[in-house]
């Protein structure tokens, strides 16, 4: 198993005040890691660290196995700005290719093909010329997922991807993510929902007030927590 992200004794914080201490975990190729934790447990800060946007106060976070900083495909939470943004699906998916542009101002033919392939893969090829704001929540998430896949095929970081979706759309999106994982893409998902996490993830990282409460496989997590899936200490 190729290790892709190795995190050792990482402490994250703002202006000298730690929000998450002594994080230790490893993400290998093909893993489906679910990061659980309540609000304020430092999940968003950990996301920034994984993306390479934030330095730890101590400890290390390394990318290896062909992954470099900035090569983690990211599905951020939706913002107000995006809900009524006049842009076609094609334009948004294509913007995921920007990382590969270097100093070139425009997209190459190969990049346009990559965008088209990813739209095909996520079943949104028919929507290519539709406006983003006219789509349903589930379709919008697929568009953003396709964009993230344009940035990288190796590893995806999803920040609460099912927020605001109805149950049917949630299940569809979870299934879609699971199928991407089966095709070899590593998934790191931040979630509020321990039920779904256990149903789909191979590994769980549980974060509490001061840092890591549990890290291991989903099987071990079930044993570790007994009946109580969420409560920490």
């Amino acid at each position: 198993m190729t290790e892709q992200i190795i995190c050792r004794d990482l402490t994250l914080g703002y202006e000298g005040v730690p929000v998450a201490e002594n994080l230790n975990f490893t993400v290998c190729q093909g893993d489906y890691l679910c990061i659980l934790g309540e609000n304020g447990s430092g999940k968003s800060t950990l996301i920034k660290a994984i993306l390479g946007l934030k330095q730890g106060m101590s400890g290390t976070l390394e990318w290896s196995g062909g992954i470099r900083r900035g090569e983690v495909g990211y599905l951020p939470q939706q913002t107000m700005v995006q809900r009524d943004f006049p842009a076609s699906v094609r334009e948004i998916v294509l913007s995921g290719c920007l990382a590969g542009c270097g100093h070139r101002p425009f997209f190459s033919k190969a990049q346009k093909q990559l965008a088209a392939d990813n739209m095909e893969r996520l079943g949104i090829a028919a929507l290519a010329d539709r406006c983003y704001r006219d789509l349903s929540g589930g379709q919008q998430q697929r568009v953003l997922l396709a964009r993230a896949l344009c940035a990288t095929k190796k590893i995806l970081l999803l920040d609460e991807p099912v927020t605001g979706l109805d149950p049917k759309a949630q299940t569809e999106l979870y299934d879609l993510i699971a199928s991407l994982n089966k095709q070899g893409t590593t998934i790191i998902m931040v979630s509020h929902d321990p039920g779904a996490a256990l149903a789909y993830a191979t590994h769980i990282l549980l974060m509490g007030d001061r840092g890591q409460l549990f890290c291991g496989t989903a099987e071990d997590y079930k044993k570790h927590m007994g009946g109580d899936l969420y409560a920490g200490d």
């Binding site: 900035g70 090569e71 943004f85 101002p105």
Partner: protein, 308 residues
Amino acid sequence: MQGIEKLGEYFEYPFVRYAFLVGLLIALCSSLLGVTLVLKRFSFIGDGLSHAAFGGLALASSLPVMVKELFTAAANGGEMSPGAAKLADALSNINDMVIVLPFTLICAVLLLRTGQNTKIKGDAAVAMLSVGALAIGYLLMNRFPSASNISGDVCSTLFGSTSILTLKKEDVAVCVVMSLVVIGLYVFFYNRLFSVTFDESFTRAIGMDADKYNLLIAVVTAFIIVIAMELVGSLLISALIIFPALSAMRVFRSFKSVIICSGVISVICAALGMTISLLASTPVGATIVAADLCMFLIFSVIGKMKNT
């Protein structure tokens, strides 16, 4: 028919042609940037900067008078020193732009910083800066008047003057070059600007420096506002920036089509506004903005009809 003849007659004059060229270029630049500003919820920067630019202009026009008065007072009513006289002369001879542009650029950077900082109530800070610049500007113009007609001066800075008809060849050249630079930058960075506008977090995540592009947007906005002040005055610039973008967004549904439509609307409205103002001798700036407003209403109706 008479109107068209009259118009043909006007176009014989080079200064009218210059005014049209400059006016249309300004309209095009401001509308391009407007789409980004409106979508990024950065409209406040345009608005704040236009007030800041007024303060800058007031500072530029009252600075020579201020220097003269201060040094005369320092000399106890006697003759001021030759050095001070030279300084005052030099200040009154340099182009206002030399003071207004850097001043506005600094404000642009400040506004961007405060606008994004949610800790100190960004929008309140912007309001504070813009109203502050307006008040200090008016205070300076009043206390150190560079001409006898203060209210006329203030009015033309706020609502645009006829100075667009008195542009010299150099002014036109400067304006054309600046506009072409803005358009060039926009085309070159188009895909990156789209990404930064649509999703800043994602843009950062793929390793691009979003702050750099935000700064670029603010700086270019400052440039446009300084050039556009000649045309429509500082109070009406925001209209030139936001109206075409909002109109285009009523009807079009992809980023590229919104940008193109916004540019076309803005150029048409500017041409229309300037033509009407020539024929009916109405104020240029206000007429252009009125044309933009009408266009917005028309596009709103079209948008409603398209949706039903």
